[in-house]
Amino acid sequence: MERQIISKKKQVFSVEPTKLSPSEVFTRKYTSHLVPALKKLNMDKNSSQINQVTVKHEVDMALALSAQEFAWGRFLLQKLSSADSKSSSSNQTQILERSNDEDGEIEEKMKELQELLPGGKEMNVEEMLSEIGNYIKYLELQTSALKTIVQDTT
């Protein structure tokens, strides 16, 4: 029965391969990682044990897996897989003392940015600026994907 359904669907597939934009590719990858992981969470543990940390972990993991072509994605994956039990707090807001010197200010802000970006501390400034660009884009995609998932479950 299932096979028939699958084969029927295969017949209706379009012959030409559709060209996917990177954002679509990412969204698909992301959901394909996240949704089964969430489902697994459901199955393995009782509902009472599902806490925010593990979900966040899965969310981050899905992002990292879907963005392997970027340095920050690889770094994030490394960090997550090595520190499975710890919670990854990625948005630490640090209050930095701004120096009066203008250049010093800019440097301070660069350092802040470096801390926001996973793996940013190990990059130099130029690299970090380009990585930040696509990190922002992929964060946006991630938020929209999460929104749709949340919308669907409500």
Partner: protein, 288 residues
């Protein structure tokens, strides 16, 4: 070097009888402008011979620096900037000298003058023709380090512009510090959003199974269109930022969904249909 420059100036004086007062006015402002104005003034008397003089004088006297061929682009930019700046400085010297000078022709000829190497006594200063000559801006050093530094700074500013396009609301703020502030705030807000959504998800997770099969392409298409306008507008960007966000869904995905809805049955079947759905996802992905 300065001595020879002075010698040249004296030579010019003798040749074209420039007033010493004028020299005094320009004396401290940098040799470059001095030379240029000298040549222009000298030739205002005799415009026919003007261009030939420019060649020799500007080729010899002007401060140039040689640059390796690797960074051709930067040099061109510098040239353009230098050209523009040249016009500005010429404008300034115009006012000081209170004489009307045609700047455009002269800049062109002076650039030609660089390419045509003249065999005067000062030709030893001229570097080999393989190098691209970059005219230094006024007040800036011409040594390699500062040029490299300048190139690096231009790269940074390019990337900052790129980021400006990505981060919404960055256009109003000017300056590196303000923009960096905006970027930091934006990244932080995005990360907070993700955390909030995942928290929501963790709350809703038990109900996830039953509803996940309702995930439709339409939703995903909607999420593409809902993306911030600033992101979708910019399709071509420099360097890394080359993600054109198109707003069209994909055919086969919608096809799966339409088939999917027909198989939806009672609650018992929901989990199995979800399995099919996820399998389709995987099939789809493997097809790409």
């Amino acid at each position: 070097m300065d001595l020879s420059v002075l010698e040249r100036v004296k030579w010019l004086q003798q040749q074209q009888m420039v007033s010493p007062e004028f020299l005094q006015i320009l004396g401290s402002d940098g040799r470059e402008e001095l030379k240029m104005v000298e040549s222009y003034l000298g030739n205002s008397n005799d415009e026919l011979q003007g261009f030939r003089h420019y060649e020799t004088i500007d080729g010899c006297i002007s401060r140039t620096s040689s640059f390796q061929m690797e960074q051709v682009k930067n040099n061109e930019e510098n040239r353009v900037i230098a050209l523009q700046h040249k016009r500005k400085t010429e404008g300034k010297t115009e006012k000081r000298g209170k004489k009307k000078i045609k700047t455009e022709d002269e800049t062109e000829s002076s650039m030609k003058g660089k390419s045509n190497m003249s065999n005067t006594e000062t030709s030893s200063e001229i570097k080999k023709q393989e190098y691209i000559h970059v005219r230094a801006r006024r007040g800036e050093a011409t040594d390699r380090h500062s040029l490299a530094e300048r190139a690096r700074r231009e790269k940074l500013s390019k990337k900052m512009k790129c980021l400006q396009d990505i981060v919404p609301g960055c256009n109003k703020v000017t300056g590196k510090a303000g923009m960096l502030d905006e970027i930091i705030n934006y990244v932080q807000s995005l990360q907070q959003q993700v955390e909030f959504l995942s928290m929501k998800l963790s709350v809703l997770n038990p109900e996830l199974e039953f509803h996940i099969n309702e995930l439709s392409t339409k939703q995903f298409q909607a999420c593409f269109t809902d993306l911030p306008e600033a992101v979708s507008k910019q399709s071509m960007m420099v360097d890394v930022c080359s993600f054109p966000l198109h707003q069209h869904g994909s055919l086969d995905y919608s096809v799966i969904n339409s088939n999917q809805t027909t198989t939806l049955g009672s609650k018992d079947q929901t989990s199995s249909s979800w399995e099919i759905h996820s399998q389709c996802l995987y099939n789809n992905l493997s097809l790409k």
